[in-house]
């Protein structure tokens, strides 16, 4: 089983606060991290390799510093890593990103399974996985919560839907996106850390990928962000006063008055 895991480097801003004075993000102490959902994708890839043999190749598209997440991936058990980086890739939407990844993964050739996180915490779209599958012309299953059994040309998995789980059989090669319920990622090993330090990580640019610059980055994107703004929070808060018992009474009175209970 040769597994390719797609990672993304994102700002670690899930607990970010807005500065009420300037209405901007407070970013002190914010570091770039591996997209949290991708850590489950990596762990599952490594577990599959440990169970069935083969190797795990991690890839990311991003600026030169995105190499950091690939080194981290090697410390966590990935065998190889490739960075897709070129200023021509900047400003890519999900379509252009998936196209770049698909072109690069086609160049890797040897793959049986591609794993992505369910979505990133910065873009939050969850679209690159399914778009990538379609561009590679292979099956796709989203929100996978368990890999049950892998045979030579197919595998049995479980995926999460709104009201439960579905057991699904899919042909291989395939693309899956995983949810955090699938595993508990390991910590880096000492050997892994040493390996990560010395690993050679090749960078593939637009030239190496042989892509036309009009098909990647901003020119290759179908969508364009035209405005970015901070959401207005509705402030309506009335903090009830008095003893707890009377607060509970007055809450119920209020709710009865407006007939929600």
């Amino acid at each position: 089983m040769n597994v390719v895991v797609c990672l993304k480097q994102v700002p670690g801003i899930t607990e970010v606060k807005i500065d009420p004075e300037t209405n901007t993000l407070i970013r002190e102490g914010i570091k770039n991290i591996v997209n949290p959902f991708d850590t489950y994708a990596l762990e599952e890839g490594v577990r599959i390799k440990e169970r069935y043999g083969g190797k795990v190749t991690t890839v990311t598209m991003g600026p030169p510093q995105a190499e950091e997440v690939l080194r981290e991936a090697i410390s966590l058990g990935a065998d190889e890593a490739i960075l897709f980086s070129d200023s021509a890739f900047a400003g890519a939407d999900t379509l252009a990103t998936a196209y770049t990844l698909a072109t690069a993964i086609n160049k890797i050739q040897e793959y049986d399974l591609i794993i992505c996180g369910r979505q990133t915490v910065d873009g939050d779209t969850g679209q690159v996985g399914p778009e990538l599958a379609e561009m590679l012309g292979i099956p796709f299953v989203a929100y996978v919560s368990k890999v049950e059994e892998i045979e030579s040309d197919h595998m049995r998995i479980q995926r999460m839907v709104e009201d439960g789980h579905e057991a699904i059989e899919t042909l291989l090669p395939a693309v899956i996106t995983v949810v955090k319920e699938i595993n508990v990622p390991r910590l880096p090993s000492l050997r892994g850390l040493a390996k990560a330090k010395s690993a050679a990580i090749p960078t593939w640019t637009a030239i190496e990928l042989g892509v036309d610059e009009n098909t990647v980055g901003l020119p290759g994107s179908a969508t364009k962000v035209i405005k970015v703004f901070f959401p207005q929070r509705v402030h309506r808060g009335e903090i009830l006063q008095g003893e707890l018992g009377s607060q509970v009474e007055s809450l119920l009175d209020n709710l009865r008055e407006i007939k929600v209970i």
Binding site: T14, G91, A142, V161, K180, F230, G237, I261
Partner: protein, 393 residues
Amino acid sequence: MGIQIDLDKCTGCGNCLPYCPFDLIEIVDEKAHIKDGCTLCGACQEACDYEAILIEVVAETAVISDTHYGIWVFAEQRNGQLKNVGYELLSKGRELANTLKTELCAVCFGYNINGVEQLTAYGADKVYLIDDPTLDNQQEDLYTGQLVKLIQEYRPEIVIAGATSFGRSFIPRVAAILKTGLTADCTGLEIDTERRLLLQTRPTFGGNVMATIICQTRRPQMSTVRPRVFKKNTPDKTRMGQIIKVDFNKEGITSRTKLINFIEDLTERVKLEDADIIVSGGRGLGKAENFQLLGELAAVMGAALGSSRPPVDDGWIPYSHQVGQTGKTVCPKLYVACGISGAVQHLAGMQTSDIIVAINDDPKAPIFEVATYGIVGDLFKVVPMLTEKLKNE
């Protein structure tokens, strides 16, 4: 191509710095400098008082075909039952179609679907219906292939679908085949009438930032919208519409995935998305067993049980109860948040509820900012009191 600073105009004031969602602007030698990784989102450009930031975009040369016509809503069903999200999108779609002076069509695939005429009552002028036993359970390969064929044949200018787990899984594949743009989880859809463009607004960075997105030259313009984001209109049973039965065109479409079985999550007695009242618990509950307390309150109120992310992460309650950015979006008449601090990701999923009650012992918890009524106090005292008083009514 890309972003440039006009060094003659830039004063090095630094006003643009906090506006970059990626923190990529620095001041070097009293001039703004953009580091690698810029996505050309344009947030800094608007913040600059000196017009010193230039974002050069290759002129869109492709001509938009004016043969694209109509707004389509993909109306999802499960086990023959149409989902509410389809009605919500038709209600919004009606508004957009009126602005664009175009037709609104619903597209519905499945087998023995109940109440298809409801789709016209909610605003569809036409319903393209494919009723076929092979479309019984939602086989994504079949749905993807068939929807692509229909879009290629009828050429709608806009396609909107529900951001359910099914929609979020197969709609991107449709967009990839059509090589067009898709905007996920939109919370606002408007029309720029001058350019006939769909203005798609969505939360990003976990709900911290809103972005408005367009798809300028490719068609159709595609969006997904979560359930309960738009309100559904009152259905008008007298509305006339055309139901067009289309044969399932199996040519070149095969399913490479197979549904073996479905394991229903039985803990969810009242469905979150359909509930009028939701009682929801957070980290403040302390442990799994304490959801029992909320369960009792929910039972006397006839409410569904919700959760913020931490209890789901810790395995106290199944994921199907999670409300928020990576869970469900809900919009009940009453949302009771117990021991929930109110992280922005949670607020993103519930802040449009009609009435929000917050019970938390931390007066500084952000949940109180969106709460209609707040009780600062111990939920282990307040919740049983509420349950008791309601029980005695």
